[in-house]
């Protein structure tokens, strides 16, 4: 029978504070509360913390007693990890980087992928797939600013895994963007576009970024961060959709030629699948109605025709 964890009451001085074997998770702001049960494992040097590292910095006296769940020295790593992960996911889902650290630990300790998938995947809510283990392990090569950004933005697993397609060197190019604190959706849009353009045009990232004037734009202190993001976003879009951009520019030019009153708007489908214009009027006052009446001159109609043709 496998040795199981048992409840125990320990004192702070029994903890081996230097043992961070299981310190796999990101420290959070949680403080230790006196009712918290921490998980430990008996070792030759005392008790190693499995879960509950916050107790170390809680400023408790050495003789302070606390409740613990204690694994024996010969407990199987996978059993401990299962308990640890179960405990953590009850509090909140793991960040992908944390899952990657768990996988790394199993690999380092010679645990087979099959055992890992059988024991831990159900707890992690993952479907059995050995490829997935390797993909998660790639997360360990993400640069620190990227990891911090993705955690802060609570990025999806998909985004985490996508960024692993970039080499560490290429990831460091993205730091200029991250410093400007783009929203996650804008960040995702820009990095996926960069990746796709590189693949399509067989360019290195360095070559592409040079052509886009990436660093110059993103570090231009004369512009507000928002404006820098807007400009790089436009530049990337134009590069990814050159024909669509030219078409859009032509349509916008035709649109600008129409002198629209401020209470009117013209809208078009910006995928250009439809050749259709929608005119909207905001009519509150008699003046608004007059503006509408006066707008439909022969010249305005001719320009609308032109716009429609340009679509």
């Amino acid at each position: 029978m496998k040795p199981a964890a048992k409840p125990a009451v320990l004192t702070v001085d029994q903890i081996d504070k230097s043992d961070h074997h299981y310190d796999l998770f990101l420290s959070d702001s949680d403080e230790y509360h006196f009712t918290d049960t921490i998980i430990v494992q008996k070792t030759v040097r005392g008790y190693r913390i499995v879960d509950g590292f916050e107790i170390i910095n809680a400023g408790l006296p050495d003789h302070y007693q606390f409740p613990a769940v204690c694994f024996p020295e010969n407990a199987a790593l996978l059993t401990i990890l299962r308990t640890l992960v179960e405990t953590r996911v009850k509090k909140c889902p793991l960040f992908p980087i944390e899952t990657a650290r768990v996988f790394q630990m199993t690999r380092d300790n010679g645990i087979s992928d099959i055992d890992l998938m059988e024991i831990l995947f159900p707890v992690l809510g993952l479907k059995a797939d050995t490829m997935l283990i390797d993909r998660y392990l790639q997360l360990l090569f993400l640069t620190k600013p990227i990891v911090t950004y993705l955690i802060k933005k609570n990025a999806s697993v998909k985004t985490w895994l996508f960024i692993t397609k970039f080499t560490r060197d290429d990831q460091s190019d993205l730091h200029d963007l991250i410093r400007l604190r783009p929203t996650l959706s804008v960040f995702e849009e820009i990095v996926s576009s960069l990746y796709e353009i590189q693949k399509r045009e067989s360019l290195t990232q360095k070559e592409l970024l040079t052509q886009l004037q990436w660093t110059t734009l993103l570090t231009d202190e004369n512009l507000e961060p928002k404006e820098r993001i807007r400009q790089i976003r436009n530049a990337v879009f134009k590069r990814q959709f050159p024909l669509l951009s030219v078409h859009k520019d032509n349509v916008e030019a035709a649109l600008r030629r129409i002198s629209l009153p401020e209470n009117a708007g013209i809208h078009y489908d910006d995928t250009f699948e439809k050749k259709e214009l929608q005119l909207h009027w905001r009519l509150n006052t008699e003046t608004d109605i007059d503006k509408m009446r006066n707008f439909y001159t022969d010249e305005a109609i001719r320009k609308i025709h032109l716009l429609l043709d340009t679509l």
């Binding site: 399509r200 959709f241 050159p242 024909l243 669509l244 078409h247 995928t271 699948e273 439809k274």
Partner: protein, 388 residues
């Protein structure tokens, strides 16, 4: 090129074993592991580590398999094509193929109850005797890539030879047509090939026949009296697309007399957004998912109109620059594109269906006995539907 050796295992349901054709099919797979299973046996777990393209299932169909082509959203025009889904999945590997993601089944399926299928077919066609049908077996698989499909095709050719108001279309990227050349087809079978420039075939249509062999096979089919069709689908955007597609059309007409071509379809690359990641995963070196694509009115990704329009225009112009050009149509395109490329648009899907019949009647005298009437198409219904 024979694709039988791509299969690793063959599963045969007990009921399929009773069909006369099953033994003939199995004899073509002598070196594969063959296993007889009860009809209700779920073998998914047995093959979970295998690509469905390498597992063959011989079974009897459950329910109707003669149906209307599902087409796409109403925002795009479709041609009211009808399909016989006897073969489901394909052993070849095309980077853009939707089947490898669309078919959620653990094996390539071949239905063996041919007699029932033909009975279903005939009874459904009989309900609309005044309408002329185009019916294909290449919707969910290649019509001729597996011996079990070829055996079906051979019988289907004979069956269609006696159906006055229908054409069978066998659509393929293979060239194994020798067994079909001497059959009595009565002009009621169209042999069709998907076409792309050789460079695109080389980079995206793995394990398929190359361009020139496809055209050579088509030439042989024409000599055997078959009508031909070609599908420029998917048209792919390459930086040198003008040169590639111009040369392709030159090559087509060097091999084939346009007067023997019943129809040519045009369709640019399109796929559901969820397929993009899967293509990249399966074909990491392909660049096709990275083109200028937008989400169309049907939710699928497709080339932006400013990109696909010039491609269509050039291809259409080249294809029609011959005397008596073939009937050319778009597969799943918008009315706007029809109008911008052809200068006209069908009024509806049924109108497009009628246009096919009218073209066949005019271009191939004797194929359709009576002049097609629009009303029979307007009032027509799909073969999987019951008349109202």
């Amino acid at each position: 090129m024979n694709h039988n050796n791509r299969f690793q295992r063959v599963y045969i349901t007990e009921s399929a074993l009773q069909d006369s054709v099953t033994g003939d099919i199995l004899s073509k797979f002598p070196s594969q592991i063959q296993r007889i299973i009860p009809d209700d046996y779920n073998f998914t777990a047995d093959v979970c580590d295998l690509d469905p393209k390498t597992v063959l299932l011989l079974a009897r169909s459950q329910g109707d398999i003669v149906k209307g082509c599902p087409g796409t959203d109403k925002s795009y025009l479709c041609c009211n094509y009808q399909v016989i889904n006897q073969t489901q999945n394909c052993p070849m590997h095309c980077s853009y193929c939707i089947l490898q993601f669309y078919l959620n089944q653990p094996a390539t399926v071949l239905y063996t109850n041919y007699d029932e299928i033909f009975t279903e077919l005939k009874s459904k066609i009989e309900r609309q005797p005044k309408r002329f049908f185009r019916i294909g077996t290449g919707e969910l698989g290649d019509s001729l890539a597996i011996d079990g499909s070829v055996l079906f095709a051979k019988q289907a050719i004979r069956v269609f030879a006696e159906i006055p108001n229908a054409l069978l279309e066998l659509k393929s990227k293979t060239t194994d047509i020798e067994d079909l050349l001497h059959l009595e087809h009565n002009g009621h079978t169209v042999l069709a090939w998907s076409l792309n420039p050789q460079e695109i075939i080389h980079q995206n249509e793995f394990t398929t026949a190359q361009l020139i062999p496809r055209l050579a096979a088509a030439q042989k089919a024409a000599e055997a009296g078959y009508l031909l069709a070609f599908h420029f689908d998917p048209i792919l955007f390459y930086p040198n697309w003008e040169k590639l597609y111009s040369e392709l059309i030159d090559e087509l007409y060097r091999h084939i007399d346009p007067e023997r071509i019943a129809w040519i379809s045009l369709g640019s690359l399109r796929f559901p957004p969820s397929m993009k990641e899967k293509i990249i995963e399966r074909y990491p070196n392909t660049t096709i998912p990275y083109s200028e694509m937008v989400r169309g009115m049907d939710g699928k990704l497709r080339y932006a109109r400013p990109l696909r329009l010039p491609m269509y225009k050039l291809i259409y112009q080249k294809l029609t620059a011959v005397p008596n050009p073939p009937f050319i149509y778009f597969c799943m395109e918008s009315r706007l594109i029809w109008k911008e490329v052809f200068g006209k648009e069908p009024e509806s899907n049924s109108h497009l269906d009628f246009m096919f019949a009218e073209s066949l009647y005019r271009r191939f005298p004797g194929l359709i006995s009576e002049k097609p009437q629009r009303i029979h198409y307007n009032e027509g219904f799909s073969l999987d539907a019951l008349p109202e």
